[in-house]
């Protein structure tokens, strides 16, 4: 991983990097791109967790128990920092990667990262091995948050926190009156029930795909195929109906039956595979 990075830049680039030797960054440790989204980071984390596990044959003779514990600690810590958007932002700033909102669109992101690479980098904080993640990362946040806007951002429930918190069956905003009327308007005003409607409902309530996924336990892939009308990628009948039901319930629609029926009716008339 390191060596490919070195290779990309040619000998001169290597010289520049090695002139300021730094400890492995959290991104390098997890083996992800600096612009990786939270899903990629989580996948990398679980992959590493399954490798650095006591009793794995492949560790034999190379990494002993102490080193293994230290490594697991580093992985946990790196994950805790990168998983929380605000601490990740603070960490990015430490690395000299100071983009206020790391964009998720790759094309733009690459452009910006090139600009960011040219900024002089700050020395990276030494990562203590084996530190418990959350308390430490909270400290990291409070130290670096300066403006009000960032403080507000930090106060928002992060994805990691959402994972720990008990699941909600209905979104917070769903009970607000203005949201309610918007949703009702959408449902009543619709002519055909399709993915677009589901997406606009979700956006009207202000729920992200990820939040939906975390709280309803409906997979992200399903949410995406639902909203893009890729009916053939969905699971078989009853399961799909159940997922759509929890999706709509989460948006505060208490009587989703009609919507579900007409959505899947439509799928049938489109002559989709027999599973629906």
């Amino acid at each position: 991983m390191d060596s490919t990075e070195l290779l990309d830049e040619g000998p001169a680039g290597i010289r520049d990097r090695l002139d300021r030797p730094r400890p492995t960054s959290h991104y390098q440790l997890l083996g992800v791109d600096r612009l990786a989204n939270s899903i990629e980071i989580r996948q990398a984390y679980f992959r590493l967790k399954s490798v650095y596990i006591s009793g794995n044959q492949a560790l034999y003779s190379l990494i002993n128990e102490d080193e293994l514990a230290a490594m697991v600690g580093r992985i946990e810590y790196a994950f805790a920092v990168l998983q929380n958007p605000s601490s990740r932002q603070a960490y990015d700033r430490e690395l000299g990667f100071s983009v206020e909102n790391p964009p998720l669109k790759r094309a733009d992101a690459r452009h910006i990262s090139e600009a960011a690479e040219q900024l002089p980098s700050l020395p990276m904080q030494q990562v203590p091995a084996g530190q418990g993640g959350t308390s430490k990362s909270a400290g990291l946040v409070s130290k670096n948050v300066e403006s009000n806007e960032q403080a507000e951002r930090a106060a928002q429930p992060s994805v990691a926190a959402a994972k720990m918190a008990p699941l909600r069956s209905v979104a917070i905003n769903a009970s607000r009156d203005d949201v309610r009327s918007k949703v009702d308007g959408l449902v009543i005003g619709t002519t055909k029930v399709d993915g677009l409607l589901f997406r606009s409902l979700r956006e009207a309530v202000g729920v992200s795909e990820e939040e939906m996924h975390l709280n309803t336990k409906v997979s992200l892939r399903f949410i995406q195929s639902l909203e893009n009308d890729r009916i053939d990628e969905m699971p078989a009948g009853t399961y799909a109906k159940g997922f759509v039901k929890s999706y709509l319930k989460y948006l505060g629609i208490n009587e989703p039956r009609e919507l579900i029926e007409s959505y899947f009716q439509r799928g049938k008339s489109c002559n989709r595979p027999a599973t629906l």
């Binding site: 991983m1 390191d2 060596s3 490919t4 070195l6 290779l7 040619g10 000998p11 290597i14 010289r15 090695l18 002139d19 030797p21 400890p23 492995t24 440790l29 083996g31 992959r47 590493l48 399954s50 490798v51 794995n56 044959q57 492949a58 560790l59 034999y60 003779s61 190379l62 990494i63 002993n64 102490d66 080193e67 230290a70």
Partner: protein, 347 residues
């Protein structure tokens, strides 16, 4: 591979070639032809893990895909690649070319039953054994030159080296010099332990080579001591190879920079042989991840091979497995491995 010209892909390949040359032994590193074949070495430390089986069958699959392959049996202790390939005990061997110098390089090359695959058979073991380490570097010079020129002289795309067990000097030399070193492991602790020992040996060989090329022997010694080599007076410390080496940067910037550059021109591929369950396959993925971070070697899991009777049945018939059982699962696996190999090498 490709001369230094143009932009984009060509530039990348030229750079990779430069990185590869930076880690060669100095007597080989001079006079490199522009057009070298891709060198793939199959090693793995432990005996009986299927190195010769993998090399013979992989060569046949690469040949099937249209590449011209030269198989070289470098197992000094027990050369028997010709049996895997399905040939009789050969008259002309590598020994005639390297030590006796009675035959030319072209004369020791033999056609094999598989298309596009040629073989240089290994010599008898007792012949190799008298020849000590005294003039070790000089002995292999002719072979190196001939192999690296073989694309110009014979049109080979791949030179596939079948290495012997253990960490003999020649074995590690050839492994460290390859573009892609394939490590065959069995899903058992002894084999994995030997694989790591072998990898460590090959990293120190690259350190040696870079040290010799730059004539920075102190730096090379310090690096090896840092890595815990008892020869260089070091003791084993915790921490990965890449971290330890990076820690030496302040002392020997030039050397460490060249060393990482040299390592970036080399790749490691893992093949897990004789797997019986999914957990055995996972070992390959784990080793890939671990070696990437531990050794700074680019490593890839190339594929796995099932535990299957077909392997020894074909050996008993003295025929090549992939041609004896063209529809066996094993053959499919070898096919996958050859595809991954080509992919990772950037063909």
């Amino acid at each position: 591979m490709i001369p230094d010209s143009g932009t984009g892909a060509n530039n990348f390949l030229a750079l990779r070639n430069k990185a590869w040359v930076a880690g060669l032994p100095p007597h080989v590193g001079i006079d490199i032809p522009n057009n070298v074949p891709t060198v793939v070495a199959v090693g793995g430390g432990k005996g009986g893990v299927g190195k010769s089986f993998v090399s013979a069958n992989l060569a046949a699959k690469l040949g099937e895909r249209g590449y011209k392959v030269l198989l070289v049996d470098l197992d000094m202790g027990g050369a028997n690649l010709h049996t895997y390939v399905g040939m009789a005990i050969p008259r002309q061997t590598l020994f005639d070319f390297v030590v006796y110098e009675s035959l030319s390089f072209s004369e020791v090359i033999q056609r094999t039953p598989s298309s596009n695959v040629d073989l240089i058979a290994g010599g008898k073991d007792e012949m190799w054994s008298f020849e000590g380490d005294a003039n070790a570097t000089g002995t292999m010079n002719g072979l190196w030159k001939a192999l690296l020129n073989s694309r110009n002289t014979h049109g080979y795309d791949f030179v596939l080296l079948d290495l012997g067990a253990g960490t003999h000097r020649f074995t590690v030399d050839f492994f460290a010099a390859a573009h892609m070193g394939i490590i065959t492991v069995l899903p058992e602790p002894t084999s994995i332990e030997n694989a790591y020992t072998f990898l460590k040996a090959s990293v120190s060989r690259v350190i040696d080579n870079v040290g010799m090329q730059l004539e920075e022997f102190n730096a090379a010694n310090a690096a090896k001591a840092r890595l815990g080599s008892p020869v260089a007076g070091g003791t084993m410390q915790p921490g990965s190879y890449s971290e330890k080496l990076r820690g030496l940067y302040n002392q020997y910037p030039e050397f460490i920079h060249s060393l990482f550059f040299a390592l970036s021109g080399r790749q490691i591929g893992f093949v897990v042989n004789q797997i019986r369950s999914q957990r055995d396959i996972d070992i390959g993925f784990s080793m890939e991840t671990i070696c990437n971070s531990y050794f700074s070697y680019q490593s890839h899991f190339l594929g796995y091979i099932n535990y299957d009777e077909a392997a020894w049945k074909s050996l008993r018939n003295r025929r090549l497995m992939v041609s004896d059982f063209p529809h066996a699962t094993l053959t499919k696996r070898i096919h996958d491995i050859s595809g991954n190999l080509i992919n990772k090498l950037g063909f």
